[in-house]
Structure formats: structure tokens, C-alpha cells
């Protein structure tokens, strides 16, 4: 084989290798305990539970389902269960302090105490007035958050 042809072949192979390893699209499982199924149907048996963030290889696609491989296991998943970027950590977990209104209410309460020390009942009245003026019901939002159901319970419910 002439030398320049061989070099061209090596160059092409190298480019292919770089594209495959460096720029190939990665696919990740988005939710914890994602069910890998034996057939492209929700009612088909679960063959494995995949961890959140697992990198998978797409083998085939069938409408809204994709066939994937993870380690030695193969199976089907809904297309919407995977993405090309790894999942992010949960941010609005109820245990995290993301309730600005609580801080605001603490400040308001302090101000009320400073301006009208000893007048009990005025604090809650003032809070209510401010909330009404804003048109926002923070207590209602808190009730809504308290009524949340766990993912596991929700999943079980859908399977029945």
C-alpha cells in the first residue's frame, strides 16, 4: 500500500476513534430505581432497577421506548426516562431551607415586637394583613407542601 494512502487511512481511523470516544452522546438515567423492562410495554416484567445517573448505551428505538444496555443487562425504558446530561441533585427538598417567606415573617415579627412590645395578637394580625396585601397565601403553600406523597408510594399507585 502506498505510504500516503496508509497515512490517510490512519488519519481516518484516528478521527473516527476521537469522534466515538470524545464526542459521542452520553445517555443517563434520570430517576432513581428506574425500571428496566423486558419488552417495550409498562405491563411487561421488570428485569432490573437502574440507579439514578447510570450511563447507558442505546441499542434500539421503538416509538416512545428505547432498548438500552447497562453493564450486562439489556431491556426497555420509556424514551422520556433518559437524557443526554447526568441528572442534577434534588434542590427543593423539603428539608432544605428554601422558604423565603419564613425569614420575611421572622423579620416582620421582630419589627412588630420592637414597635409594639407586649401587644400580643397584633403580630399575627399584622402578618395576616401583609399577606393579604401581597395576595399570597404562604400558609396555604405550606399545607400544599405538607400534603406531598413519596415517589415510591406514587409509583406503586400507578402500577395497580
Amino acid at each position: 500500500m502506498p505510504r500516503n494512502k496508509t497515512l490517510a487511512l490512519f488519519f481516518a481511523l484516528t478521527c473516527g476513534f476521537l469522534v466515538q470516544v470524545g464526542w459521542a452522546k452520553d445517555t443517563y438515567i434520570q430517576q432513581p430505581n428506574t425500571q428496566l423492562r423486558s419488552r417495550p410495554a409498562f405491563r411487561s416484567p421488570v428485569v432490573s432497577l437502574l440507579p439514578q445517573g447510570a450511563q447507558v448505551q442505546i441499542l434500539a428505538e421503538k416509538k416512545i421506548w428505547v432498548k438500552i444496555r447497562h453493564q450486562q443487562k439489556q431491556g426497555w425504558l420509556p424514551r422520556l426516562a433518559i437524557k443526554n446530561s447526568p441528572p442534577m441533585a434534588r434542590l427543593n427538598d423539603p428539608s432544605r431551607d428554601l422558604k423565603p417567606h419564613k425569614k420575611l415573617r421572622r423579620r416582620l415579627r421582630l419589627r412588630t415586637v420592637q414597635s409594639a412590645t407586649g401587644v400580643r395578637g397584633l403580630m399575627s394580625g399584622r402578618d395576616r394583613l401583609i399577606e393579604r396585601a401581597e395576595g399570597r397565601d404562604w400558609n396555604g403553600l405550606e399545607k400544599m407542601e405538607q400534603g406531598q406523597i413519596s415517589s415510591a408510594q406514587g409509583k406503586r399507585f400507578l402500577e395497580n
Binding site: 421506548w65 441528572p87 442534577m88 434534588r90 427543593n92 423565603p100 399570597r136 396555604g140 403553600l141 406514587g154
Partner: protein, 279 residues
């Protein structure tokens, strides 16, 4: 001088030299780029949640929540299941029922989803409720409200758009956030989202419903059932804020025909009726 050229040796040498390059270079570059993007995204998401909370509190302030009971528990459980499969992993989703006769459902950024009691009463089965919740979940997943308010800047980050101002604790920043959530409220209740976003949410809802083995045609039938109710004045906000029902139904039928799902999918009518009656 003549040199002996061995293609196999040269190939092995090339591979040995280049093998670590993509692994150390490209993969490391990708990893670092991802870590950097995560830092920006976390700020964006935290902000989206704070914004969504304000909007949700405003919705609850203007439209009473249905008192806790079997119906609210049912909607929350169905929604939690749906979000466990198709929600954004960084968000905790919350579902509630608004004590309102008007037929509609609303999605706030950050994962706060509402459906009116009037909408539930217009439904016949669980597949229809799941379709509506999936439509709203799709709005959250695709960040339709955030995009409609043009909170994203050219670099696709909302951080540079307004997080810099809001991130501070100054009172003026809070006022801006309040004003934006008021604007979002008007968007949901008066102006409506982009029609393209509504069609996208419908298409995604169809996919989610089918993936969970529910009868997706039920969702289309529900939209069809709304037409006479709209004339009676029970779906004022839907008619004001969404594309015409006939065009949504047509597009959904096209989508469903393309997916061509097998028949005999579940509707869970009995469970739905029992929960609605038990409210």
C-alpha cells in the same frame, strides 16, 4: 535512503499515542465543563423554585385550595407517581386541587401544579386526569413559563438574566421578583403561554400517558368534552389562555396515529369515580 514502512506497526503506534488523548483530554474537558454548568444550573434552579413558590402562593391566595381529603390525596398520589417517572430529578413536585368551578390546570415553575375541582368533575376516568397532570408536568419540565417571561438570557442561563439582582437580599430585588411573579400570574390566568408550548405539552403528555400504559385517547376525549362546557362558560380561562380545542384535538390525534399504540390500555374509571365521589 530507503526506509522500511510497516503499516501494522505504524497503526499500533498511532493507537498507543492517541488512546490516552481522548480519554484524558476530551473526557476530562467534558467532565469539567459539566461541573461548571452544574454550578450555574443549581443557582438557576434554586431561583426557579423561589420564583415558583411566590407564584404558587399567589395562586393559592386568589383561588382557595380544596380542603385535604381523599380527592386531594388521590391527585397528589397520582401526580407523585407521574413525577417519579418523568419529572425533573432536581425538583420535588407538589400537586393540589383548587376549589374552583372553572375548568383548568396550572403549572408554576419549580414543580407546583394545580388542577381545579371543576376540571376533575368534567373528567370520566383516571387516564384523563393523568393526561392533564402530565400536560402541566411537561410545562414545568420544558420551563415554558420561565421562557415566556424571557428570564433566560442569550447564554440560556436565567442567572445572568435576573438572578444577579434577585440573589441579593435588597428590598428592591424582592420587589422585582414579586412583580415578575405577578406577571407570571397574568400569563397563566389571562394571556396564556405560547401556542407552540401548549402543543408541545400536549404531545409530551401523550407520550407520558402511553409510557405508563394508560389510554391516551381518553385525554383527547376529555378535551373534546370541554367544547360544550366552554360554551356554557365553565372553561373561561382555558379558552382565554390556550389554543382552540379543535386544533389541539387534531394535533393530538395526529400524534396518536403516528405512535399507533395497541388497544386495551387502562383508564381506571372505577378507581377515579370512587375517589371523586369520596371527596
Amino acid at each position: 535512503m530507503k526506509t522500511n514502512f510497516h503499516p501494522l506497526r505504524a497503526f499500533t503506534l498511532w493507537v498507543c499515542l492517541l488512546l490516552p488523548l481522548p480519554l484524558l483530554g476530551a473526557q476530562d474537558f467534558k467532565r469539567r465543563a459539566y461541573q461548571e454548568s452544574q454550578k450555574v444550573s443549581s443557582k438557576d434552579i434554586a431561583l426557579e423554585i423561589e420564583f415558583g413558590k411566590k407564584l404558587a402562593a399567589k395562586i393559592i391566595g386568589s383561588n382557595k385550595l380544596l380542603a385535604p381529603g381523599p380527592l386531594t390525596q388521590y391527585v397528589a398520589t397520582l401526580g407523585a407517581g407521574l413525577a417519579a417517572y418523568f419529572g425533573r430529578p432536581e425538583l420535588q413536585y407538589y400537586f393540589a386541587v383548587l376549589d374552583q368551578k372553572d375548568i383548568n390546570a396550572y403549572a408554576c415553575p419549580g414543580g407546583y401544579i394545580f388542577v381545579t375541582q371543576g376540571a376533575i368533575q368534567a373528567m370520566q376516568n383516571e387516564a384523563q386526569l393523568l393526561g392533564v397532570l402530565a400536560h402541566e408536568l411537561a410545562h414545568v419540565n420544558q420551563k415554558h413559563v420561565v421562557k415566556a417571561l424571557k428570564l433566560k438570557s442569550a447564554d440560556q442561563s436565567i442567572t445572568s438574566g435576573f438572578a444577579a439582582i434577585i440573589g441579593g437580599s435588597s428590598s428592591s430585588a424582592k420587589v422585582i421578583l414579586d412583580q415578575l411573579s405577578d406577571k407570571a400570574y397574568r400569563l397563566l390566568f389571562e394571556e396564556g403561554l405560547n401556542h407552540r408550548d401548549e402543543y408541545e405539552a400536549d404531545a409530551l403528555a401523550l407520550q407520558m400517558t402511553l409510557s405508563l400504559d394508560y389510554d391516551a385517547a381518553s385525554y383527547i376525549r376529555y378535551l373534546k368534552r370541554l367544547e360544550p362546557k366552554m360554551k356554557q362558560g365553565y372553561a373561561k380561562v382555558v379558552s382565554q389562555t390556550h389554543p382552540a380545542l379543535s386544533s389541539r384535538v387534531t394535533k393530538l390525534r395526529q400524534n396518536l396515529a403516528e405512535l399507533n399504540p395497541e388497544r386495551g390500555r387502562k383508564t381506571n374509571s372505577a378507581r377515579f369515580q370512587a375517589q371523586v365521589r369520596a371527596r
